[in-house]
Amino acid sequence: MALRDRVRAGDHRCLRQAASIKVLTECEARQLSWPRRVACLVRRQCEAEQVIIEADERIVFTRTLPGVPAIYSPDDWARMTSGRTLHELGPVSNIAADWGLLLTQGLLGRRQVALDTRQRLVEDPKGVEFLDCAIETIDAVLHLADRYAEQARAMGSENLATILERVPARPARSFHEALQSLRLCQAVVWLGGNYHVGLGRFDQYMWPYLQVDLQTGLLTIDTAEELLAEFFISLNKDSDLYPGVQQGDNGQSLTLGGVTPAGELAVNELTLMVLRVSRDLALIDPKINLRLSAQTDLDLLASATELTRIGLGFPQYSNDDVVIPALVEHGYDLDDARDYVVAACWEFIIPGRGMEVVNIGAVSFPAAADQAIRTGLSAGDDFDVLLGRVSENIDQQVHLIADAYSRLLLPPAPYYSVFMRDCLERGSDLSNGLKYNNFGIHGAGAANAADALAAVKHFIFEEGSISPQDLLSALEADYANYEHLRSRLAGEGPKVGNNDDEVDQLMVRLYTDFAGACEGYGRTPHGGILRPGTGSAMYYIWLATGHQGMREPVVGATAEGRRSGEPLSVNLSASLGVPVRGPISVLQSFAKIDYRRVFNGGPITMELSDSVFRNPESIHKTAMLVRIFAQLGCQQLQLNSLNLETLLEAKKHPEEHKDLIVRVWGWSGYFCELAPEYQDQIIARHYFGS
């Protein structure tokens, strides 16, 4: 495992170049259009890459360029984007390519498609320009591969040189070639400034190559696992250069299992191999998603649970029984729906066919509820009128986010387009849209909001044991000098996570309102719909503390006894500090959401104490829990196993716990590389986890 440890220690980083290259001068001197600037950027980045091959490496490419240079001057960029909305950093992110296109056709095959279309579209200058840009980037990657091949030959690595002379230019013929082709081509997407570059249905598009190699005896299970391990290690080499809200939030996710587009069971030997290799490596990339159904084999779930047991925080589970019908109901073709993958965190997306922006913002349920509570109690509303205010607030938030994204400006991505369906075939950049062009909105803090509404209903409207004025004053004072009231609100009354209909139905109502608002919005100017989701992303912190440039409202003290600034519940989980009646009651609470309408994704997030796994039957029992999740009709689940003492220790002595992995919101990262507020929220989750 020497290679793994070297990469983890970051030994290769000393090979990086000191500074980013500059391409702005060339772009301006040649007065290039935007697409041509992007193509120029990709080409120049490839040209500037230095070839790095370590003696024992069989899957190569190590990035040496530290950054992605600007292609417009700040002034020009400000002018171009004025009045428009950029998604996060700007470049297209968080979508899934169809890597099967690369493996089956090779870059030369894709290049030929571009040339054929170019001939057909010769009268269409935009189309021609896009295709020329795509070809420029393809040629740049081919040239980079040639340089790698030459170096391999010069070093006497004949086998590697032969592979690099073959791929990514031509279709892969073996598992090794397929992995090498994918490594290089995926890395160049990052190099061009796109990010959250997912790996799609890895066990589907890779399996034919492995299957042949195993049949012909070119590989054994053991040698195949070694190659796969090297590929996975390579995905961890450059990840510190990838942009994300926190280190580790990089979207290098892959999806396993499920069904084929024709509806057949898609699990194969590679599915299990990925789980084994990932368990043995214990690295944060790639992040693993497993598709399942209520019928899924318990042995497969047990293999997946092995990863949970060692604390990787993945796999994340998605329930085909729930996800596929919801996608179909919202206009996805059945064969496409069956081909879904999970994007960076949890959002469902169709590889090669979706230019979907799955995370355009978040509805803050706590802000919607809190504003209604404060206004409604002041105005002397009854509880139903107050709930009406909540619905209105949610609707307004949806409109605010969606209206901003009606002005969305997506930069061209000619290279990324090479791996999408129909871009080269139609002569159109992916930023102009693909088959599916929907937007997703997170729905954050539902447990807090439902608990707050339930507290108001219970203590004020039903018991009459707290007066509206006392609650309003306490909220205004952020509970200073109202500790007794606060602890009653926090400690008593119904709470989400306990399968208690009184509060769960309030949560369900929040999501129904949210779905109604999205449905009522209709189609966006990008030709898609709004998909409401159950994830929180980083908003469980941001909505409580505020964040620069954030569109979403910040919420202060809330009626479930939460003080201002305290984090909200992450994704679908009980409010922090709420004791729940066990994992099944949590699943039962969240099973009540109508996932046919709330279908952008966002997992039930559960913390298991690592002591659970001391028992020899624990793997089987946890697999059972995952099956129950599916049986109950829940949509998505992530399980985290950790020890509270270890977390506290790691905070005190980070240097001794560098490899400690935790699940953050929809991804796993190294605990010691997280900002303190994220560390503390995880500690609080574990403290109260049962």
Partner: protein, 221 residues
């Protein structure tokens, strides 16, 4: 009982207890009527039954409120019941709960009565008596031994336990439970003092051989 190494000290009191920790305040323990608790548990019974699951009554100590626990079990729909006990209680209470259970986890800590009194605060006569009762009742059971460094993990004590349990019909296996170093952390939060008279850092003697030689299946969990 009040074992010196108890890692759920908040479960020793019969009344709800306030726990104050850096993460906030919470109340450990909640008052339910038997009907309320049974109705909550019955919400999950179908799922548990369909997935090889069941309901465990543990502690604290179920024997401390045996009539209540028996009443709850009687109100439950058909489901596998596990009774996890220290065995310290009247024979009538003990029989009452064993009769209603499908599987029993029975803790044995120390065979030497003087040491038992010192470390757990009570004599072990009742416990050993109940173990015999259990065996005669014919229900399957597991004997669980918490390994406390230098106290329960000595060869002498383990051999004595092996001798007591080796001929008991109904014994499925013995579970050895390695010492939980986090045990002490909760005392302060519960407003209690943690004063172990043993060295927590001492390496445990996990001697499974003693049990194996006596023909007893043994696991370390």
């Amino acid at each position: 009982m009040s074992c010196m190494w108890c890692h759920n000290p908040e479960g020793q009191s019969l009344e709800p207890l306030v726990i104050r920790s850096p993460a906030g305040e919470r109340i450990a323990g909640k008052v339910y009527t038997a009907a309320e608790l049974a109705s909550l548990l019955n919400q999950q019974v179908d799922i548990l039954r369909a997935n090889e699951g069941g309901i465990t009554f543990s502690g604290g100590e179920p024997l401390l409120q045996a009539d209540f626990v028996a009443e709850v079990i009687d109100l439950l729909d058909d489901v596998h019941i596990l009774f996890d006990t220290c065995g310290f209680g009247g024979e009538k209470s003990f029989r009452q709960l064993v009769n209603r259970s499908d599987l029993i986890y029975f803790d044995l800590k120390l065979i030497d009565n003087k040491a038992h009194r010192h470390f757990t605060g009570c004599a072990n006569d009742l416990i050993l008596k109940n173990l015999q009762v259990l065996s005669e009742m014919g229900k399957p059971f597991v004997v669980r031994v918490p390994l406390v460094p230098g106290v329960t993990d000595t060869d002498h004590n383990l051999a004595a336990i092996a001798q007591v349990v080796c001929d008991l019909p109904g014994l499925m296996y013995v579970d050895l439970l390695p010492y939980n170093k986090a045990a002490g952390s909760k005392y302060r939060y519960a407003g209690m003092e943690f004063n172990p008279e043993y060295d927590e850092a001492q390496t445990l003697n996990i001697n499974t051989g003693i049990f194996k030689r006596a023909g007893i299946r043994v696991n370390v969990v």
